[in-house]
Amino acid sequence: MKLLLAALAFVILTPVVCGLLAGFDRIITAKMQGRYGPPLLQPFFDVLKLFEKENLMVNQFYHSFYLICYLVFMVASGILFFTGQDLLLVIFAFTLADIFLVLAAYSTNSPFSFIGAERELLLMMSAEPMLLIAAVGLFMATKSFKVGSIASVADLNTILLLPGVFIGLLFILTIKLRKSPFDLSTSHHAHQEIVKGVTTEFAGPSLALVEIAHWYETAIMLGIIYLFFAGNPVIAVSVVLVAYFVEILIDNTFARFKWELTLKSSWAVTFIFGGLNLIVLFIIEKVKI
């Protein structure tokens, strides 16, 4: 019963919270550029408007089928996470959801979507190793893959044991939030063609689905960041907010990377920070025994 309530709360609250977060994001971005910026509720207006539009589809069946799968698996992954299930399962569902987005982009038969889909796969290749390393790191620090028990065990010690993993995770947070310099496959900002990539061919309600799924995606990523500090909710929430602010700052100060640099840099960070951290943890455990 409690799990059911938690799941329900996640499904309902996430669009509200992450939509507001996106609203703040746009206002802060505008302020950084010396503009006034849109109203706080703008992301909701955008999504509601998209539902009012005609749904232009190139490929009637696959197009909407894959996009609905994208949303469903993203929500499922989030439910698994926020009801405290296995972290590995969360990451696999998360990856599967992304695969459906790629398939939806391929089904539109547009060269821009094709390039976007390929780049999305590339970004997944860049980000997934670090996500898995984070799961393994949390397991080594707390002796559990279950989000529930990680959250109850995590304390100051967790972050002291996993500083490298945390830095690596912050690095790929930029990829997962689709922020510059890693917004190769699609971008938050007004762009077109290759830069808009996977979403170029989605119109109206289809685009709205992608946007909502992205809110859930944001919630899961920020949730994983939260997990490192779960022992102290006040610190955890402030760390999450600071991390999000830094992402906005990076978004506004960096030019877009080429894909080679994206892949190389994220793998370098993954293996240097994440990998070394795991090795050190392993040695510490051996010494203890």
């Binding site: 503009r35 849109p38 703008q42 207006f45 005609e54 232009l56 007004a190 762009h191």
Partner: protein, 152 residues
């Protein structure tokens, strides 16, 4: 109330303009005018757009491009002709390659006069277009009768 008036996204196409009007359209996006205050975004992608801004007259080369962009925009949509060129063809009207204003090939909802149209006028035109967008959404829009029929 429909949400379409709160988040109009724009696609801007430069027909054969002298670039005067284009600069003014882009000026609307700068911190000085910042149209994002009204939720307006220049998407540049016809499939995401609600408002089609055209500058410059129609010539034999861009006629298909304009029709193509118009067809790719999901309903409801409006077309705003920016500047005299887009409205009537201006002094290019008699050129060997000119077909005239934009309304010779697609239905135009709002005409923004000026050579070049000022950013304030462009924002006014877009706000006017929002009213039409709302009517189109609610299916209450009645197109004004034009002297020459304009159907693509």
């Amino acid at each position: 109330m429909s949400f379409i008036t709160k988040s109009p996204w724009i696609v801007h196409y430069d027909g054969s303009s002298c670039n005067g009007c284009d600069i003014e359209v882009l000026a609307c996006l700068t911190p000085m005018y910042d149209v994002e205050r009204f939720g307006i975004i220049n998407t540049g992608n016809p499939k995401h757009a609600d408002i089609f801004l055209i500058t410059g007259y129609v010539n034999t080369q861009n006629v298909d491009v304009i029709k193509n962009i118009y067809r790719k925009m999901p309903d409801p949509k409006v077309v705003v002709a920016i500047g005299i060129c887009a409205s009537t063809g201006n002094f290019f009207r008699e050129c060997y390659n000119a077909l005239g204003g934009v309304d010779t090939i697609i239905p135009v909802d709002v005409y923004v006069p000026g050579c070049a149209a000022r950013p304030e006028a462009i924002i006014d035109g877009v706000v006017k277009a929002l009213g039409i967008l709302d009517q189109k959404k609610n299916k209450t829009y009645v197109a004004p009768v034009k002297p020459e029929g304009v159907i693509i």
